[in-house]
């Protein structure tokens, strides 16, 4: 099922022509933003020089810090009377980033969400519980408008009062839910305590946090849903930028609305399909706040092959943030890649630690400590040695890097919530 079959399945040549036309329109729009006028002049790039899609590489990047420096409305390309909505994204420090929307933006954005929800089989017959924050956060209203556009029955449930949320699912016959994966896990627990099996629920849309395939299986089992990954960024409207199709293998990013590049985050050089790097996006239809080559800080890659569903090129599920990246012997490594490898091995526990040292001959050495699950200990040293070798091999395949793997006693590794603390880089201290 398609919401916008023409754009979702557009052939490459036609798509590229549309992208180029829209890129040029975007270049015209950014002329209304002082930051871009100055930046393009400083870089000596003139809009007329952008004649092909590849020419986008001649444009400078836009970084999150740039947007902060424009607080509050410095990046708006239209007069305030044309801005009909403002959202903000909370920064960890200082002022938030402000995002503005014209009426056209809201229409485009809700259209993208409608594509996503239609893609996973939702229709006007579905009852949709939107269990995310409805305030300045883009996730709430974004899905609200998209689901209404399809004609779904929308419950703006927000977060909290989880018992009430479970009751609503059961009493209103809710068929689809949108929330963060961690809230979904909590909801599953509360439903189990209440003795509800959430019988009506069939579709779960989870976003705003990275989540693993192991979490997917657990959520699918416990909530009785098919779980889909949703990706978005407030600077690029919000949720709706990319979304999983029923294949559950990679996310479709809407190429008619977003010009996608994957770059090496260190050198800024473009990377091809199959190569993991930072997602850089030039939104092609944004009116109130056009951006050029926005560095998302999110790590993914373009798939080499087409999706059986017939839509345009996919990107991989996100595997971490540029800030978490390690460079080991010149190879970019993300802690999340290590996590993925380990999660796929049933013998290995959920916890791990990564140590990076500068070893002999000044070569970087990476050591990964993993716990063996109790029930997989046979008592035989040879079995452990074989498992250790298997982990080393799996890591080498995923990272293209030889690592050391240490098996440690169950329960001996520190327990963390986030990923970043799992890495201890000791190279600087030598």
């Amino acid at each position: 099922m398609y919401w916008d079959e023409k754009h979702e399945t557009m052939r490459q040549a036609e798509l590229e022509a549309l992208q180029l036309r829209r890129l040029r329109e975007t270049l015209t729009r950014v002329q209304n933003v002082e930051f871009y006028r100055d930046l393009l002049e400083r870089e000596g790039v003139r809009a007329e020089e952008i004649r092909t899609l590849e020419d986008v590489r001649r444009l400078p990047f836009t970084k999150k810090q740039d947007l902060r420096s424009g607080y509050p409305f410095g990046f708006f390309a239209v007069p305030m009377r044309d801005v009909v909505r403002i959202h903000t994204t909370s920064g960890t420090t200082g002022k938030p980033t402000v995002v503005g929307y014209t009426r056209g933006d809201l229409d485009n954005w809700s259209g993208l969400i409608a594509r996503n929800m239609t893609m996973v089989g939702l229709t006007a017959d579905d009852v949709f519980q939107n269990a995310v924050n409805m305030g300045m956060f883009t996730g709430g209203l974004g899905f609200h408008y998209g689901a209404e556009k399809i004609g779904m029955t929308v419950l703006p449930a927000g977060t909290g009062n989880t018992k009430r949320q479970v009751e609503m699912i059961d009493d209103f016959g809710v068929t689809a839910i949108h929330c963060t994966p961690s809230y979904a896990m909590h909801l599953a627990e509360v439903a189990e305590e209440m003795g509800s099996d959430l019988a009506s629920l069939k579709c779960g849309i989870f976003g705003a946090e990275a989540w693993s395939d192991a979490t997917r299986s657990e959520l699918q089992d416990r909530l009785g849903v098919t779980a889909y990954d949703s990706y978005g960024l407030s600077e690029l409207y919000g949720p709706g930028v990319a979304f999983e199709c029923p294949e559950q293998d990679g996310l479709h990013i809407w190429h008619d609305s977003y010009l996608v590049e994957i770059i090496d985050p260190v050198t800024g050089e473009p990377l091809g399909p199959g190569e993991r790097g930072e997602l850089v996006v030039t939104p092609l239809v944004k009116e109130a706040m056009p951006l050029l080559r926005y560095r998302t800080g999110d790590i993914t890659m373009l798939y080499e092959d087409d999706c059986p569903c017939g839509r345009t090129m996919r990107i991989a599920r996100f595997s971490g943030r540029v800030d978490d990246m390690l460079i080991i012997r010149g190879i970019n490594v993300f802690p999340s890649q290590i996590e993925h490898v380990l999660m796929a091995m049933p013998e290995v526990g959920d916890q791990f630690m990564v140590y990076v040292d500068r070893g002999e001959r000044h070569l970087d050495e990476m050591t990964i400590e993993v716990e063996i699950k109790r029930r997989f200990f046979s008592g035989e040293l040879a079995d452990l040695a074989r498992l250790q070798e298997r982990i080393v091999r799996a890591l080498r395949e995923a990272l293209e890097l030889r690592t050391h793997v240490r098996l440690v006693e169950p329960g001996s590794l520190p327990r963390f919530e986030g990923k970043s603390k799992r890495v201890i880089d000791r190279r600087g201290t030598l």
Binding site: F377, E380, L381, L407, P410
Partner: protein, 144 residues
């Protein structure tokens, strides 16, 4: 006696190679009044397995597990060995000729001579071969 009566439960404990782990195992068993007849340590890179024959394997298992150790039971057999040159060769040769592979072994000397503990790939065949050659196997009841 049936072949089963000669299958002895060894406890195998996963242990990192770091100071104090063996002492922690020994101390836990001492507190449980578990007597260790024999033990050996097998090491790989960074970790090892401590193997022990004890008089109360279940109690040892419970206690070590409650202390966070990863413990498993492993079936082994124990053969009385002549405490003189050639004693080990005799048994190893006997099993080799019976086509039994020894995965590992360790020995201890008791008051009434040496005992060889063997982990083999085919324990039933090993038991038959040893008994057929008139050698003395030690029943599991001797370790309880």
């Amino acid at each position: 006696m049936a072949a089963d009566d000669y299958i002895i439960r060894q406890i195998s404990v996963f242990s990192e190679n770091r100071p104090g782990r063996l002492a922690a195992i020994a101390h836990a068993l001492e507190e449980e009044c578990v007597n260790i007849f024999a033990f050996s340590i097998a090491e790989a890179s960074g970790f090892g397995v401590v193997r022990a024959l004890v008089d109360h394997p279940d109690r040892a298992y419970e206690r070590l597990t409650s202390e966070g150790f990863n413990v498993a039971f492993t079936d082994v057999i124990a053969v009385r060995m002549r405490d003189e040159p050639g004693g080990l060769f005799e048994i190893a040769n006997l099993l080799g000729e019976a086509g039994v592979n020894i995965e590992y072994s360790y020995a201890y000397s008791g008051l009434d001579g040496g005992v060889l503990i063997l982990r083999v790939d085919r324990p039933e065949d090993a038991i038959a071969a040893i008994r057929g050659a008139g050698k003395e196997l030690i029943a599991s009841s001797a370790f309880a």
